[in-house]
Protein backbone atom coordinates (compact mmCIF):
# COMPACT_ATOMS: atom_id res chain seq x y z
CA UNK A 1 0.00 0.00 0.00
CA UNK A 2 1.19 3.48 -0.89
CA UNK A 3 0.33 5.44 2.27
CA UNK A 4 1.11 8.89 0.84
CA UNK A 5 -1.25 8.32 -2.08
CA UNK A 6 -3.97 7.00 0.27
CA UNK A 7 -3.76 10.10 2.52
CA UNK A 8 -3.87 12.34 -0.56
CA UNK A 9 -6.91 10.45 -1.91
CA UNK A 10 -8.84 10.70 1.38
CA UNK A 11 -8.10 14.43 1.63
CA UNK A 12 -9.16 15.10 -1.95
CA UNK A 13 -12.42 13.18 -1.40
CA UNK A 14 -13.09 15.08 1.85
CA UNK A 15 -12.57 18.49 0.23
CA UNK A 16 -14.59 17.56 -2.85
CA UNK A 17 -17.53 16.40 -0.70
CA UNK A 18 -17.64 19.89 0.82
CA UNK A 19 -17.59 21.35 -2.69
CA UNK A 20 -20.44 19.02 -3.74
CA UNK A 21 -22.49 20.20 -0.74
CA UNK A 22 -21.75 23.83 -1.68
CA UNK A 23 -22.70 23.14 -5.32
CA UNK A 24 -26.00 21.57 -4.26
CA UNK A 25 -26.68 24.44 -1.85
CA UNK A 26 -26.08 27.13 -4.47
CA UNK A 27 -27.71 25.05 -7.25
CA UNK A 28 -24.64 25.74 -9.39
CA UNK A 29 -24.21 22.73 -11.68
CA UNK A 30 -20.78 23.91 -12.90
CA UNK A 31 -19.41 23.78 -9.34
CA UNK A 32 -21.19 20.48 -8.84
CA UNK A 33 -19.56 19.08 -11.99
CA UNK A 34 -16.09 20.16 -10.95
CA UNK A 35 -16.64 18.87 -7.39
CA UNK A 36 -17.85 15.45 -8.60
CA UNK A 37 -14.92 15.26 -11.00
CA UNK A 38 -12.49 16.05 -8.18
CA UNK A 39 -14.15 13.47 -5.92
CA UNK A 40 -13.59 10.91 -8.70
CA UNK A 41 -9.90 11.90 -8.73
CA UNK A 42 -9.78 11.29 -4.96
CA UNK A 43 -11.44 7.89 -5.33
CA UNK A 44 -9.02 6.91 -8.11
CA UNK A 45 -5.99 7.93 -6.05
CA UNK A 46 -7.33 5.99 -3.06
CA UNK A 47 -7.85 2.81 -5.09
CA UNK A 48 -4.46 3.20 -6.77
CA UNK A 49 -2.80 3.47 -3.35
CA UNK A 50 -4.04 -0.06 -2.56
CA UNK A 51 -3.61 -1.54 -6.01
CA UNK A 52 -0.17 -0.34 -7.05
CA UNK A 53 3.06 -2.06 -6.20
CA UNK A 54 6.73 -1.27 -6.63
CA UNK A 55 7.53 -2.22 -10.24
CA UNK A 56 10.52 -4.37 -9.33
CA UNK A 57 8.91 -6.02 -6.29
CA UNK A 58 7.11 -8.67 -8.31
CA UNK A 59 10.35 -9.77 -9.99
CA UNK A 60 12.21 -9.92 -6.67
CA UNK A 61 9.49 -11.97 -4.98
CA UNK A 62 9.44 -14.46 -7.85
CA UNK A 63 13.24 -14.64 -7.81
CA UNK A 64 13.25 -15.15 -4.01
CA UNK A 65 10.86 -18.06 -4.40
CA UNK A 66 13.06 -19.61 -7.11
CA UNK A 67 16.16 -19.16 -4.95
CA UNK A 68 14.39 -20.70 -1.95
CA UNK A 69 13.26 -23.66 -4.05
CA UNK A 70 16.78 -24.14 -5.44
CA UNK A 71 18.28 -24.12 -1.94
CA UNK A 72 15.55 -26.41 -0.62
CA UNK A 73 16.29 -28.91 -3.41
CA UNK A 74 20.00 -28.92 -2.48
CA UNK A 75 19.11 -29.26 1.23
CA UNK A 76 16.87 -32.24 0.46
CA UNK A 77 19.49 -33.88 -1.77
CA UNK A 78 22.16 -33.53 0.92
CA UNK A 79 19.78 -34.98 3.54
CA UNK A 80 19.95 -31.77 5.56
CA UNK A 81 16.24 -31.41 6.29
CA UNK A 82 16.86 -32.11 9.99
CA UNK A 83 19.78 -29.68 10.16
CA UNK A 84 20.00 -26.18 11.63
CA UNK A 85 20.24 -22.80 9.98
CA UNK A 86 23.29 -21.05 11.37
CA UNK A 87 24.63 -17.55 10.93
CA UNK A 88 28.31 -17.32 11.79
CA UNK A 89 30.42 -14.22 12.23
CA UNK A 90 33.85 -15.27 10.97
CA UNK A 91 36.18 -12.32 11.47
CA UNK A 92 34.58 -9.47 9.57
CA UNK A 93 32.56 -11.79 7.36
CA UNK A 94 29.10 -13.16 8.16
CA UNK A 95 28.29 -16.57 6.72
CA UNK A 96 25.11 -18.62 6.60
CA UNK A 97 25.32 -22.36 7.02
CA UNK A 98 22.87 -25.22 6.91
CA UNK A 99 24.50 -28.03 8.84
CA UNK A 100 24.18 -30.55 11.64
CA UNK A 101 27.65 -29.91 13.05
CA UNK A 102 27.84 -28.37 16.54
CA UNK A 103 30.90 -26.33 15.50
CA UNK A 104 29.72 -23.98 12.73
CA UNK A 105 32.88 -21.88 12.86
CA UNK A 106 34.93 -24.65 11.29
CA UNK A 107 32.88 -24.83 8.09
CA UNK A 108 34.38 -23.61 4.84
CA UNK A 109 32.40 -21.82 2.17
CA UNK A 110 30.48 -23.98 -0.29
CA UNK A 111 29.04 -27.48 -0.17
CA UNK A 112 31.18 -29.95 1.74
CA UNK A 113 31.45 -32.66 4.36
CA UNK A 114 32.84 -32.12 7.85
CA UNK A 115 33.09 -34.85 10.51
CA UNK A 116 31.13 -37.08 8.13
CA UNK A 117 28.22 -34.65 7.95
CA UNK A 118 27.33 -32.64 4.81
CA UNK A 119 26.89 -28.89 5.00
CA UNK A 120 26.13 -25.84 2.89
CA UNK A 121 27.80 -22.58 3.75
CA UNK A 122 27.72 -19.27 1.93
CA UNK A 123 28.70 -15.67 2.72
CA UNK A 124 25.98 -13.15 3.64
CA UNK A 125 27.90 -10.43 1.82
CA UNK A 126 26.54 -6.98 2.56
CA UNK A 127 23.03 -8.14 3.50
CA UNK A 128 21.79 -6.03 6.48
CA UNK A 129 25.31 -4.72 6.95
CA UNK A 130 24.23 -1.38 8.40
CA UNK A 131 22.07 -2.83 11.20
CA UNK A 132 22.48 -1.19 14.61
CA UNK A 133 24.44 -3.39 17.02
CA UNK A 134 23.19 -3.80 20.60
CA UNK A 135 25.37 -4.59 23.57
CA UNK A 136 24.30 -7.72 25.41
CA UNK A 137 21.07 -9.65 25.14
CA UNK A 138 18.66 -7.12 26.60
CA UNK A 139 15.11 -7.90 25.45
CA UNK A 140 13.92 -4.34 24.94
CA UNK A 141 16.92 -3.01 23.03
CA UNK A 142 17.03 -6.20 20.98
CA UNK A 143 13.36 -5.79 20.08
CA UNK A 144 13.93 -2.17 19.12
CA UNK A 145 16.96 -3.00 16.96
CA UNK A 146 15.20 -5.91 15.24
CA UNK A 147 12.11 -3.75 14.61
CA UNK A 148 14.36 -1.14 13.00
CA UNK A 149 15.71 -3.74 10.60
CA UNK A 150 12.73 -6.02 9.95
CA UNK A 151 9.88 -3.49 10.12
CA UNK A 152 11.35 -0.11 9.18
CA UNK A 153 14.08 -1.09 6.70
CA UNK A 154 12.83 -4.31 5.13
CA UNK A 155 9.05 -4.07 5.62
CA UNK A 156 9.14 -7.81 6.27
CA UNK A 157 6.44 -7.55 8.97
CA UNK A 158 4.52 -4.91 10.89
CA UNK A 159 5.52 -5.81 14.49
CA UNK A 160 8.34 -7.66 16.21
CA UNK A 161 8.20 -9.08 19.75
CA UNK A 162 11.28 -10.63 21.36
CA UNK A 163 11.72 -12.64 24.51
CA UNK A 164 15.16 -13.50 25.88
CA UNK A 165 15.65 -16.53 28.08
CA UNK A 166 19.31 -17.27 28.75
CA UNK A 167 20.95 -18.07 25.40
CA UNK A 168 17.62 -18.48 23.67
CA UNK A 169 15.90 -15.60 21.88
CA UNK A 170 12.30 -16.03 20.77
CA UNK A 171 11.34 -13.66 17.96
CA UNK A 172 7.68 -13.28 17.05
CA UNK A 173 6.81 -11.57 13.76
CA UNK A 174 3.30 -10.25 13.20
CA UNK A 175 1.74 -8.95 9.98
CA UNK A 176 4.27 -10.63 7.70
CA UNK A 177 4.33 -9.30 4.15
CA UNK A 178 1.96 -11.51 2.12
CA UNK A 179 4.39 -12.47 -0.69
CA UNK A 180 6.93 -13.64 1.90
CA UNK A 181 4.34 -15.41 4.02
CA UNK A 182 3.49 -17.62 1.07
CA UNK A 183 7.10 -18.95 1.13
CA UNK A 184 7.09 -19.74 4.86
CA UNK A 185 6.13 -23.37 4.22
CA UNK A 186 9.52 -24.13 2.66
CA UNK A 187 12.37 -25.52 4.81
CA UNK A 188 14.61 -22.63 3.78
CA UNK A 189 12.48 -19.51 3.59
CA UNK A 190 13.26 -15.78 3.39
CA UNK A 191 11.51 -14.94 6.69
CA UNK A 192 13.65 -17.28 8.82
CA UNK A 193 16.84 -16.50 6.92
CA UNK A 194 16.42 -12.71 7.11
CA UNK A 195 15.43 -12.87 10.81
CA UNK A 196 18.50 -15.00 11.56
CA UNK A 197 20.83 -12.65 9.68
CA UNK A 198 19.25 -9.61 11.36
CA UNK A 199 19.68 -11.19 14.81
CA UNK A 200 23.30 -12.09 14.07
CA UNK A 201 23.97 -8.56 12.83
CA UNK A 202 22.38 -6.77 15.81
CA UNK A 203 23.94 -9.07 18.42
CA UNK A 204 27.27 -9.42 16.61
CA UNK A 205 27.24 -13.12 17.54
CA UNK A 206 26.66 -16.47 15.85
CA UNK A 207 23.06 -17.65 15.98
CA UNK A 208 21.34 -20.94 15.21
CA UNK A 209 17.68 -21.42 14.43
CA UNK A 210 16.38 -23.90 17.00
CA UNK A 211 12.69 -23.89 16.21
CA UNK A 212 10.12 -22.02 14.14
CA UNK A 213 6.40 -22.18 13.60
CA UNK A 214 3.14 -20.26 13.54
CA UNK A 215 1.43 -18.13 16.17
CA UNK A 216 -1.93 -16.38 15.86
CA UNK A 217 -1.46 -13.60 13.29
CA UNK A 218 2.18 -14.32 12.61
CA UNK A 219 5.18 -16.61 13.01
CA UNK A 220 7.79 -17.25 15.67
CA UNK A 221 11.39 -18.42 15.59
CA UNK A 222 13.58 -19.44 18.51
CA UNK A 223 17.30 -18.80 18.09
CA UNK A 224 20.24 -19.98 20.12
CA UNK A 225 22.74 -17.16 20.44
CA UNK A 226 26.39 -18.20 20.91
CA UNK A 227 28.77 -16.12 22.99
Amino acid sequence: MNRALAVLGVNVVAVSVLAVVYGLYTQDTAILGVALSVSLVGAVLLVMSFATSEAVLGSLVEYAELASRALTTVVEDLDLLRSRLLVVADGGEVRLAIARTPDPGSLGTGIGVRYGEPYISFPAGRVLEGAAVVAGLDGRSLESALSGVLVDSLGLCSRVVTEVSGRLVRVELYGISRPLERMCGMPVNPVNVLTAVALARVTGRAVALAESGQVAGGRYAVFEVFS
Partner: protein, 85 residues
Amino acid sequence: MSSSQVLRFSLLYTGLVALFNSTLLLLGERRVDAYLAVNVLSFYVSYSLARPPTRPGAAMTALHILLLTLFAAVVALRVYEVLTG
Protein backbone atom coordinates in the same frame (compact mmCIF):
# COMPACT_ATOMS: atom_id res chain seq x y z
CA MET B 1 7.73 3.69 -1.64
CA SER B 2 5.90 4.88 -4.71
CA SER B 3 7.36 3.93 -8.03
CA SER B 4 8.10 6.50 -10.68
CA GLN B 5 5.31 5.08 -12.86
CA VAL B 6 2.71 5.65 -10.12
CA LEU B 7 4.00 9.20 -9.64
CA ARG B 8 3.92 9.80 -13.39
CA PHE B 9 0.35 8.48 -13.58
CA SER B 10 -0.79 10.65 -10.65
CA LEU B 11 0.77 13.79 -12.10
CA LEU B 12 -0.58 13.13 -15.58
CA TYR B 13 -4.09 12.27 -14.39
CA THR B 14 -4.48 15.16 -11.94
CA GLY B 15 -2.87 17.52 -14.47
CA LEU B 16 -5.26 16.49 -17.24
CA VAL B 17 -8.29 16.71 -14.94
CA ALA B 18 -7.25 20.17 -13.74
CA LEU B 19 -6.70 21.31 -17.33
CA PHE B 20 -10.00 19.95 -18.67
CA ASN B 21 -12.05 21.08 -15.66
CA SER B 22 -10.65 24.61 -15.95
CA THR B 23 -11.29 24.67 -19.68
CA LEU B 24 -14.87 23.44 -19.31
CA LEU B 25 -15.51 25.89 -16.50
CA LEU B 26 -14.12 28.82 -18.51
CA LEU B 27 -16.24 27.76 -21.52
CA GLY B 28 -19.29 28.02 -19.26
CA GLU B 29 -20.12 24.30 -19.38
CA ARG B 30 -22.89 23.59 -16.85
CA ARG B 31 -23.59 19.90 -17.54
CA VAL B 32 -22.32 17.72 -14.69
CA ASP B 33 -21.95 14.66 -16.93
CA ALA B 34 -19.51 16.51 -19.22
CA TYR B 35 -17.06 16.94 -16.33
CA LEU B 36 -17.37 13.28 -15.34
CA ALA B 37 -16.99 11.93 -18.89
CA VAL B 38 -13.85 14.00 -19.50
CA ASN B 39 -12.50 12.80 -16.14
CA VAL B 40 -12.96 9.16 -17.14
CA LEU B 41 -11.23 9.82 -20.47
CA SER B 42 -8.37 11.55 -18.63
CA PHE B 43 -8.00 8.48 -16.41
CA TYR B 44 -7.70 6.06 -19.32
CA VAL B 45 -5.35 8.33 -21.29
CA SER B 46 -3.09 8.66 -18.21
CA TYR B 47 -3.36 4.94 -17.45
CA SER B 48 -2.34 4.00 -21.00
CA LEU B 49 0.57 6.42 -21.11
CA ALA B 50 2.03 5.89 -17.62
CA ARG B 51 1.22 2.16 -17.18
CA PRO B 52 1.35 2.15 -13.36
CA PRO B 53 2.24 -1.32 -11.99
CA THR B 54 -1.01 -2.59 -10.46
CA ARG B 55 -1.75 -5.81 -8.64
CA PRO B 56 -4.63 -7.72 -10.17
CA GLY B 57 -7.41 -7.66 -7.62
CA ALA B 58 -10.90 -6.61 -6.63
CA ALA B 59 -9.98 -2.94 -6.08
CA MET B 60 -8.75 -2.29 -9.62
CA THR B 61 -11.56 -4.34 -11.16
CA ALA B 62 -14.14 -2.36 -9.17
CA LEU B 63 -12.53 0.92 -10.27
CA HIS B 64 -12.62 -0.05 -13.94
CA ILE B 65 -16.24 -1.21 -13.64
CA LEU B 66 -17.21 2.06 -11.91
CA LEU B 67 -15.49 4.27 -14.48
CA LEU B 68 -16.73 2.37 -17.52
CA THR B 69 -20.29 2.23 -16.16
CA LEU B 70 -20.20 5.96 -15.47
CA PHE B 71 -18.92 6.71 -18.95
CA ALA B 72 -21.46 4.37 -20.59
CA ALA B 73 -24.28 5.95 -18.60
CA VAL B 74 -23.23 9.48 -19.63
CA VAL B 75 -22.97 8.51 -23.31
CA ALA B 76 -26.29 6.61 -23.17
CA LEU B 77 -27.98 9.65 -21.63
CA ARG B 78 -26.68 11.92 -24.40
CA VAL B 79 -27.69 9.47 -27.15
CA TYR B 80 -31.15 9.18 -25.59
CA GLU B 81 -31.48 12.98 -25.54
CA VAL B 82 -30.51 13.22 -29.21
CA LEU B 83 -32.90 10.44 -30.23
CA THR B 84 -35.84 11.90 -28.32
CA GLY B 85 -35.10 15.33 -29.73
